[in-house]
Every structure is written in C-alpha cells, then in structure tokens.
Symmetry: C2
Subunit: 308 residues, 2 copies
C-alpha cells in the first residue's frame, strides 16, 4: 500500500489551482475548460542515458524531466497549463527517490506555472525511467511551428551554446518566458528548442520549412562551458554539435531582426543573429569567406575527426 501513502503525500503537496478540477488520486485528472487549442508534448528520460542516478541528486533529475518538456512548450511559444508524470522506480533505490523526483518536478512546475496534476508510479528491478507529458496553450502568435522560416529570414538563438554536459543539461532553464516575451516584440516565423544540438535542430527547422540556412561561424554564441571542454573538439564544434542547451533557435524577418539586435528585449538573456535563411535546401556554415556544407550532426562529422 506504499503507493497509496505516496498518493496521499502527493495530494497534500498539490496546491489548489483554479485550472485543476481534479488532481492526483482518481483514475484521471480533470482540467477546467480552456477554450483554446491544446499544445501537448512528451519526453522520457532514462538513467544511464539522460542522467546518471548514481552521481546526481534525484531532485535535479526531477527538474530535468519537467524542464525538457517545458522547453518543448517554449519552442512552440506556448504558455504552460499542466503536466503529468510517470515513473519506473528501481526497487534497489532509496525509498525517498519518488519524493525527491517529485520535489524536483514540482519546483520547476511552480517556477513555470505548470501544475503537476497526476501520474503513474511503478517499480521494477531496472534503472529509473521518468516520462513527463506537459500541456500548454498558445501564446499571442498561436503555436509557433518549425515550418514557417522563409528565405531571407534571419536565424537567431537565445543565450549561448555548447558544453552542457558539464552540468547545464541537468539544470534546464526552459525559455518559456523568453518565447512569450519575444512574441510581444517580433513576429516569430519558426522556432525550435536546441536539444539535439544546434546543427541538428537547425537542420530540422530548414527541413520543415523547405528552405536552407547559412550559419555564420564567427557569430555563433559559444558558452563558457564549451571552452572548458577539453577532448579534442573546438569550442565552435561543441556549440554546433552538443545537445541539451535548451536554448531557442528562431526565424524572424530582417526588419524584426534589426529590432531585436537594437533593443535586446529579453532582460537577462541576449539574443544573437547567427545566420540567414536561403531558398536552396540545406545547411551551410560560413567562415573567413568560405561556405561549406554542415552535416546535421555538427562540425565534427564534417571534418571526419574524433568519431567514426
């Protein structure tokens, strides 16, 4: 009956919210009518792949599980509404694992106004798996898709990229507020969050938009962590190829691009123009006047270094 003690604990910790008619403890949760489209995303994390439970505080794992889903909502320009989570807990784990995961998830849920309204708790003899499904409603410009970039548009990113493996990949800062704020200043033609890596995710953008993009190597905002990485690849390669930055990449018209560069409307988060969309389908990188094709996996594979 430990599951029911846990559900009781969950219920006590679930604050009342006008959007939530029925929270944890019934066969399903019930959310109040929203009268708007519903944006839905789901992401599953596994021990040994997305985190190492033996080495990290489970609270951070909970944060990441919620954070990666919030980042997908941000990529749609959405306002969070609610989330549910399911977990497969290893039987060998400390009995407080479920609580610690929950603490991490609800910390993020509170911060981004995305109440955790239900879930499914299981246990087995294998490593931890945690799956979150998050819902949101569209921002002022409706759902921002990957498919709206046009030749001539400018490509921007929030923040800086590379080396997230040094810790930021666990401490996801989903750009939910930034994506909503951007919509108050410029028209977002297309957007994606950088989870697979800049090159891979920009590749998704142009694939869906039916066009191409030329990245300016010297313009790419490189994170200090990418400089701290020390295993043969350059900081630029890390910025292009590493995943889990959870920054946003987005397309705007040149006029809106100028406006962003002049006004930098996101208080604590600079936006940088790193490329231009072109009619020809594909992905290129330009440096010292030279333009070369850039494979979706990033720089490394172009140079044929480091990896098979």
């Amino acid at each position: 009956m430990a599951e029911f003690d846990f559900i009781r604990w969950l219920r006590q910790r679930t604050p009342s919210d006008a959007r939530v008619q029925v929270g944890p403890g019934d066969d399903a949760a019930v959310l109040a009518s929203i009268n708007a489209p519903l944006i839905v995303t789901t992401d599953m994390l596994m021990d040994g792949v997305d985190f190492l439970l033996a080495e990290v505080d489970p609270v951070r794992v909970g944060r990441k599980a919620m954070g990666v889903n919030l980042s997908d909502l941000a990529a749609m320009g959405a306002k969070p509404l609610a989330a549910v989570a399911s977990v497969a807990l290893p039987r060998s784990a400390d009995s407080s694992l479920a609580e610690q995961l929950h603490l991490g998830m609800t910390e993020m849920a509170t911060k981004y106004d995305c109440p955790l309204v239900g879930g499914d708790t299981n246990s087995w003899d294998k490593p931890l798996v945690i799956s979150v499904t998050a819902f949101g409603t569209p921002g002022p410009q409706g759902a921002i898709l990957r498919s709206g970039a046009k030749p001539g548009d400018w490509l921007f990113v929030t923040g800086s990229l590379g080396g997230s493996i040094l810790g930021r990949h666990l401490d996801v800062k989903p750009r939910v507020r930034e994506a909503l704020e951007l919509q108050r200043h410029v028209q977002l033609h297309a957007m994606i969050d950088i989870s697979d890596g800049l090159a891979a995710d920009v590749h998704h953008l142009v694939e869906e938009s039916g066009c191409g993009v030329v990245l300016e190597a010297d313009a790419i905002a490189i994170h200090a962590d990418a400089h701290r990485m020390n295993e043969g690849r350059s900081p630029l390669e890390h910025a292009l190829g590493d995943g889990e930055d959870f920054e946003l990449a987005f397309a705007v018209s040149p006029e809106d691009g100028e406006l962003l560069l002049t006004h930098q409307p996101l208080a604590a988060c600079p936006v940088t123009c790193i490329g231009t969309f072109v009619a020809e389908r594909g992905l290129w990188i330009q440096q010292h006047g030279q333009r070369r094709p850039l494979p979706p996996m990033g720089w490394v594979h172009l140079l044929g270094e480091n990896e098979p």
Copy 2:
C-alpha cells in the same frame, strides 16, 4: 537519423483528423480548441512487469499500452480525444519493434477514436518501457469520480472477473463505449476501472467516497479464465484479487440499479449488481449469511493462504 525515418513513417501513417492541428514531427502536437474540461491520464508499462516481450507479439504490447489508458478514460465516463506515447526501446530488439508497438497503439486508437498525435522515441540497453498519456472530454454526466458513492447505492460491475493473466490482460477491451452508454440510462454516482483487482479497486471507491461496501460473494461475476486458473486459489479468490480485468465498477441508486438489471442496456456486456454501499467505512464480503472484512488485496490475504 533512424529516428527521423521513423517520424517520417509515423507521419505517413497518421490520418488527418479535424481535432488535430499539428501531429507528429514538431516540438509538440496541437489539438483544436475543445471548449470543455480536459480529462488526462497516464500509464507506464515495463517489460518483465506488465508483459514479457520475449513471449508476446509487440503489437499486443502496443494495444495494451493504449488500452490501459483508454480504460482510465472509461473510468471517468470520458470520450477519448487524443494520446501521446513515449518509449524506451531496447537496443537489442528487432528494428521493427517501434513500428509494431505503433501498429498496436494505432489499432486501438482507431477503434476508440483516440488519435495518437505525438511521442518520444528513445533507445537504451535495458528492457522496453512504454508510457502513454491519453486525453478525453467528459461524457454527458461530466467527469465521474471515485468519490460519489452514497450509503444505500448499489455496486455494479461490467463483464466478469478473474484470471486475466491467461491473456486478457494484454487484450484490453476498455469499456469506453459502455461507460458512455451507461450515462444515457442511469446516473453514475462513482466509477473506477478494475486494474488492481476488484477488492483493491472497490476499496479505492469507498475510501474516496467516505463510506463502505458489502460485497455479495455469490453475486460476483466470475470469468471462465478464473475457473481455468489452477494454483490453489478458488475462482472467487481470483475474481476478487486478480488485477487487469479492465472492467468498470460503479455506484448507482437502487432505482437505477433495478433499471439496469431489468433492461441490461449494454448490448454485448452484461452488468451485475455485486454489493451495497453502507455508511460504515470499510470493505466486507458476505457469503452464506456470514459477513467478514475483506482486505484490499482480496480473499487470499484474508484466508492467509498462498502468499506470505
């Protein structure tokens, strides 16, 4: 890039649906505005716990993953709207595993009008995990909770119970249509689906409703499979203690109970009255004029047989 081939395959197989504005392939799915409360449920299944991948057709696993979630929607009396799924695929598995799971899920999705609109595909060196989140809208009586049973109400179940491990636990027949049909004939005071076992789930009903129930042992509808089980427990014990019947247990007034018994409104699915709600909190079973407390785990634990 196999993930993207898979997404391409998914998109080709995703029929257009007026309720789905954006299906698989973006950062999130987008559902058209429904202007009704949203009912949300999530369930995770793991290889070795909920199924044995080595012994079953993965199509059946896909069906079960979708079916158990649809059963939770049925338990709320809801009409399915859409679902998302995330999977952790074992790297050792046949490369067609993802497709076969998808075939099973979409077969159920089509049958119960619950389009699969998105998901997350991962792989790792551990056993298969599959997590589905399903959404629905309330039936004509709104969301039917566990908490509405009143002393004097009659307890009904759909179908018959026990021995689902012989195969029915994989071939879930969620009582979605039955739950909606019942709402056209009687007022459902409380409802739950039988996933943990009749005794356990009726225990949840009375806990939430703040009352008790007396089951009539001789009235309990026992499945032929419960008679085919042959490891020391009686068919009644199987009906009380086995899980994953995915039938519905629900509370109605005696007047509505009489109506159900007279008219049997569910064409191919008999409903049976198996007990009466009482004011005193608890769970009892009555047989040959004797009333005994029934532990939530079922008969076996009452008798102290078979299990530690």
